[in-house]
């Protein structure tokens, strides 16, 4: 590696249970700052559950129990003194299905800053413009900021959700299959965006598309039935997998 990389997220023996069912088994791995880490694996392998434990979205589900640690910059985010709301302000999330609020484009982006107590119109205007530019949506939306977010196309809605997430100025962006509902053109736009965003953010992405993982990520983790099977640089995983299960999956023999 040319430049020294900083570990941003570190999980240690993370296990997660839905009631009696164990969905994640002793996962220990690291995600580096300003890199894209991709999670791949067949449906139900726990990759979405894992990404949602990084911003504690799993807390919302009744009957979830977690053991082990998730550390962001050496702070265990499951420690009792951690404020979940503040954590989520630092760890943004983009969901599988684009989920803009039924409000205007402007209000969608301004929502996060507003709950952070920013009320100054000029400041909000500035954040909205920067965020929309950051999500490569500014040119398409600058003349219709007051239009409903639901009037945008699917791909635009997903980029709006990215703009909304970066408007609160997080360090980390979690993306849970952000392109699974998008057409190829919108997908390539979002992928380009991911490559631009990693300049400023640590990105973790769950994807079903091996090609996408290969195109956008620096590191890839392969999950299978709740276990982390293999983790390494994307190049190694795709060209020289060490485990047979990984090889079988990326060559399309199962999954």
């Amino acid at each position: 590696m040319k430049k020294e990389e900083i570990i941003k997220i570190h999980t240690h023996n993370l296990s997660l249970f839905y009631g009696d069912k164990q969905a994640l088994k002793d996962i220990s791995m690291t995600m580096n700052a300003n890199k894209v880490t991709a999670f791949i694996g067949p449906s139900g392998c726990g990759k979405s559950t894992f990404i949602r434990s990084i911003n504690r979205m799993n807390d919302l589900i009744e009957g979830v129990r977690i053991t082990g640690e998730v550390k962001i910059e050496d702070v265990n985010i499951y420690a009792p003194e951690v404020s979940v709301a503040n954590l989520r302000k630092r760890v943004g999330m983009v969901f599988q299905k684009s989920n803009p609020f039924p409000k205007s484009i402007y209000e969608n982006v301004a929502y996060g800053p507003r709950i952070n107590g920013i009320t100054d119109k000029a400041q909000l205007d500035d954040i909205v413009e920067r965020s929309l530019k950051g999500a490569a949506l500014w040119n398409e939306s600058k003349d219709r900021l007051t239009a409903s977010a639901l009037s945008l196309s699917g791909g635009q809605q997903q980029r709006l959700c990215i703009a909304r997430a970066i408007a609160v100025n997080p360090d980390i962006l979690l993306m849970d299959e952000p392109c699974s509902a998008l057409d190829p053109i919108s997908t390539s736009k979002v992928e380009e965006l991911i490559l631009e965003l990693k300049e400023n953010y640590t990105i973790v992405i769950v994807t079903h598309s091996m090609q996408q993982a290969a195109r956008v990520s620096d590191y890839t983790a392969f999950f299978y039935v709740g276990e982390l099977i293999e983790f390494g640089s994307t190049r190694d995983i795709f060209t020289n997998p060490k485990k047979k299960q990984t090889e079988d999956y990326i060559t399309g023999r199962f999954g």
Binding site: R88, K97, F101, R114, I115, L150, R164
Partner: protein
């Protein structure tokens, strides 16, 4: 085969066909017929008597002449206060049940059971409950405390050096009256009681005797039927309707947009306040519409809790009594010295009651549909 097709497709003329399509149609026609006949009857018979005077005047001559304005005013005020009480409480309850309570929570289950039970209680029972709880318990408790306070004030006033009965002195009722009339406090209520003091105005009384006498003459302000108690009783009756419709509305807010808000670092309450509730306004309005429709026509709950058959003045305070269209109708039809003479008044009153309910409903429906349209751009 041919027979089977006939049975399954219910061709016109076959018996099954009649049951499948003819009977429901007949049922619909019967229902519509009743609605048309009932409303038509009131419009035809009642509209002749509706005039500006009828709508704006007070009843005269033992309710056989004049208008019904106090009843319109009372009904509108009652429904308004009821809505102001039932909608916030119902909304908060629904919020607790759907947003905060865990699915396994026993407390939430008890509330749900209570709400369902409440919905099935006959309305006259609500009336009796309102009388027993609001008036005889809450209201009279307030009066006791209030009057006790007033008696304490009286003791202080009577002990002042300017008082004719300070420091164990005695004075005639007349002297005391004059003293109280010139006092800066308002003792008019007590002075009225002194006018009927059993020993007359000559005998001298001490401060203790006077306070003891007046303490027994507790005035009823809240411990009697009044607008506020009737409205609260009615709010109890309509609460289940509000809770159920707000709960429905809350459930229609997609999980995805709640998650989006939480993932941005909003707390649960911020999410509810800024995302969930604005999306529920049409549902809350639906709840209010149903509550108003239910509440405006109910007479039984207000029978013991605040409605009167005639009024000198329009109600101006929460503790005042009021006239009500439904109750007025009942009075006209059963308690009037000349029922035949009041018949046109009865029809017209009914028409006004129907019109009022309908107008309230229409306003809320239009508001709701406008909000819905604006939401789905």
């Amino acid at each position: 085969m041919a027979k089977n097709t006939t049975i399954f497709h219910g061709e016109r003329g076959s018996i099954l066909g009649f049951f499948a399509t003819g009977l429901p149609l007949l049922a619909v026609i019967i229902v519509l017929l009743f609605v048309v006949v009932i409303i038509g009857n009131f419009i035809v018979t009642g509209s002749g008597h509706i005039s500006w005077e009828f709508l704006t005047d007070s009843p005269r001559n033992m309710n056989t002449e004049g208008g019904i304005f106090p009843a319109i005013y009372g009904t509108a005020l009652l429904v308004l206060i009821m809505t102001l009480a039932a909608v916030p409480v119902g909304t908060i309850t629904a919020l607790y049940l759907t947003e905060y309570a865990k699915r396994t929570s026993i407390f939430a289950r008890v509330i749900r059971f209570a709400v369902n039970t409440l919905a099935g209680v006959p309305s006259i029972v609500f009336g009796l409950f309102g009388l027993g709880f609001f008036i005889q318990t809450v209201g009279s408790q307030i009066d006791t405390v209030r009057y006790g306070q007033k008696m304490d004030d009286l003791r202080t006033v009577l002990a002042a050096s300017s008082s004719p009965i300070s420091a164990g002195k005695q004075a005639t009722i007349n002297d005391i009256k004059i003293f109280l009339e010139n006092n800066e406090f308002d003792w008019s209520e007590q002075i009225r009681e002194l006018d009927v003091y059993p020993e007359g105005t000559v005998s001298a009384v001490s401060s203790n005797q006077l306070v003891e006498y007046l303490s027994e003459k507790k005035e009823l302000k809240w411990g009697k039927p009044s607008l506020i108690w009737a409205a609260l009783t009615l709010a109890l009756l309509t609460l289940p309707v509000v809770i159920v419709s707000v709960e429905e509305a809350l459930r229609t807010v997609p999980r995805e947009i709640r998650e989006a808000s939480l993932a941005l670092g909003a707390t649960r309450w911020e999410t509810i306040w800024r995302i969930v509730l604005p999306n529920c306004v049409p549902g809350i309005l639906t709840g209010s519409i149903l509550a108003v429709s239910r509440g405006a026509g109910e007479v039984a709950p207000i029978l013991f809790t605040g409605a009167v058959y005639s009024l000198q003045e329009l109600p101006s305070a929460a503790s005042d009594q009021f006239m009500h269209l439904g109750y007025h109708l009942y009075i006209l039809a059963t308690q009037s010295p000349d029922v035949d003479a009041t018949q046109p008044l009865q029809y017209a009153t009914t028409l006004v009651l129907l019109g009022l309910t309908l107008a309230l409903n229409l306003t809320a429906i239009m508001l709701r549909s406008r909000l819905r349209k604006r939401k789905l751009v």
